[in-house]
Symmetry: C2
Subunit: 280 residues, 2 copies
C-alpha cells in the first residue's frame, strides 16, 4: 500500500521530490500549487499523481512536504493547519532551520500534528518544475532536524526513498554549518560580481572573465529574492561565517609576499583535493 | 610552406597549443622539454612533430613559445637566447605580464630577437601533457601584449591558428584586469577552504560541503606553487583587487539585515546572468 504524500509548492525541489517518490513505487503524490498551469506541468513531468490549487487536499496525506521558498514555509503551514488530519507529519526543504522552528513553536501545532525539519543539500540555480530532475536527491545528503516529539521514521523513510542519505542534526549546528558551506559562498559570489561591476575597467573585465570567475560566481545566478530571505533568516550565523572568512583572508593576504604563502596554499589544496575526487 | 614553431615546456598549455597548431596545418611543431618521457608522450598525443631536450633545437624555429610556469619564463628565455636565429619572435603563455616584461627588458635582447607577451585565457586545474586538449584555446581570448618594436602579426596569427580570439592590451591594464577576474577568485577560493578547515565543526562541514562550496573552491585544486608564483609576480594588482573586493563585501554585509540587500543581489544577478549565457 502506498503512502499518500502531499507536496506543497512545485518548483525545482518539489517537482524533483515528486518524481523521485513516485519512481520509488512507495508513494502516491498529491501536488498543491497556486497555479493550475504548474499542476499541469507537474503532471506531465511525472512529478504528481494528482494536483490541486486547494490546501484542503492535504487532508488526504499522512506526510506533507512544504517545498516553498524559506520565507513562505511558516505562512504556508499556518494556512494548511486547519485541513491536516490527525497524525500528519509535516516537513520542509528549507535551507535555514532555527528561525523557522522558532516561528513554528509560536504557531502551537495541534498535539496530533508534527513538524520535523528537512534540508536536502541539492539544488541548482535553475528553478521551476520544468527544471525538476528525478535524480536531484540521489546520493545527496538530507539533514533532518528533529523538533519536539515528532516521529522521525516517516521523514527519514521519505528522503531515503528519494535516494538521499539522511543525517540528524540540531537546528543550531545545521545553521552554523550551512552558513559556512553554502550561505558564505553565495555572499562571496555576489561580492565578487560587484567587484567587477564597480571597477573602472569593467567592460574589459567582463570581456576577460573566464573559468575561475565563472565557477566562483555561478551561485550569483540563483534567485536573488530567495537568497535574500535565506541570508536574513540565518543572519547571526552568516555574520559569524563572514567574520571567520575575513580572518582567513587576512592571513592569506598578509602572507602574499612571504614564503609562508606556499604552505597556506598547499594546505587548502590538500584539504580540498579529496573532497570532490569524482566531480573535481 | 609551414612555419616552424618551437614550444618550450610541454604541459597542459604547451601540449594543447602544439596539438592545435599541428591541426591547423600551418605549423611544424618542435617540442622542447626537460624529460625525454614528456617528449614521447607529446609525440604520441600529436602535440609535436619532433622533440628534443636540448635548447639549441629552438634555432630551427622562427617563432618560439615559452609555455613554462610564470617563474620560469625569464630564466628559460635567458638560456635560449644564445641559440635563437636572427629574426626570431618569442612569446609566452604567462598569466602575469608587467614583472616579466621588466625582467626581459633587463636581459637586453639582441636587436634581431623580439619578445611579445601572450596570455591565453584558457586552462584547467589539471596539468601535464596528458591533460592536453586540442580545443583548449578554441573560442578563448588570448591577450597579446606588445613590447618594444616586436612585430605582432606572427603572434596574432599563431593564436588565431590555435582557435583563439586575440586582444591587444598593455601590460599594466592586463595585469590589473586578470588580478580581479582570475587572481582574486583564486585567493578567495583558498580563503574559503581555510575557513572550513579552521572551523571547530570542520568534520561536519566537510560532510555538508555541496554544490556552491564545490564550485567556489574548484580553483583551489590548481597547482599551489604555480599560483604562489602568479600572486607574487602580480602583487600590487592582487592587493588592489583585494581592497576593492573588501569594499564590496563590506557593503553587502552591512546590507544583510536591510531591504537594500535585495537590490544589491538583483544587481549582481543581472550583471552576471548574461555573461555566461551558454555555459551557465
Amino acid at each position: 500500500l502506498k503512502t499518500n504524500a502531499a507536496i506543497v509548492g512545485l518548483g525545482l525541489m518539489g517537482g524533483s521530490l515528486g518524481q523521485a517518490l513516485r519512481r520509488s513505487g512507495r508513494y502516491r503524490v498529491i501536488g498543491i500549487a497556486r497555479r493550475a498551469a504548474t499542476l499541469r506541468d507537474a503532471k506531465r513531468l511525472g512529478a504528481i499523481d494528482e494536483g490541486s490549487i486547494h490546501f484542503q487536499e492535504a487532508a488526504k496525506a499522512s506526510i506533507v512536504v512544504l517545498a516553498t521558498p524559506v520565507a513562505s514555509i511558516v505562512p504556508t503551514l499556518r494556512r494548511l493547519l486547519p485541513f491536516l488530519k490527525p497524525g500528519t507529519i509535516v516537513t520542509d526543504v528549507g535551507s535555514v532551520k532555527g528561525s523557522i522552528l522558532r516561528d513554528i513553536a509560536k504557531l502551537r501545532l495541534p498535539k496530533n500534528v508534527h513538524f520535523i525539519g528537512s534540508h536536502p543539500l541539492a539544488g541548482s540555480h535553475r528553478k521551476g518544475v520544468a527544471a525538476a530532475q528525478r535524480d536531484l536527491f540521489k546520493g545527496a545528503t538530507c539533514v533532518v532536524i528533529p523538533f519536539g516529539k515528532a516521529p522521525r521514521a516517516p521523514v527519514l523513510a521519505l528522503w531515503k526513498a528519494a535516494g538521499a542519505r539522511t543525517l540528524l542534526l540540531n537546528a543550531e549546528r545545521h545553521d552554523r554549518a550551512v552558513a559556512v558551506t553554502s550561505h558564505l559562498p553565495h555572499v562571496l559570489a555576489h561580492a565578487l560580481v560587484h567587484t567587477v561591476m564597480s571597477d573602472k575597467d569593467r567592460l574589459l573585465l567582463k570581456n576577460l572573465a573566464a573559468g575561475s570567475f565563472r565557477d566562483m560566481t555561478r551561485v550569483a545566478s540563483s534567485d536573488p529574492d530567495y537568497w535574500a530571505d535565506i541570508f536574513q533568516a540565518n543572519l547571526p550565523a552568516v555574520r559569524l561565517a563572514l567574520r571567520q572568512f575575513r580572518r582567513e583572508l587576512n592571513r592569506l593576504e598578509s602572507s602574499l609576499s612571504r614564503p609562508a604563502l606556499r604552505l597556506l596554499l598547499k594546505k587548502s589544496y590538500a584539504f580540498r583535493q579529496p573532497l570532490f575526487a569524482s566531480a573535481s
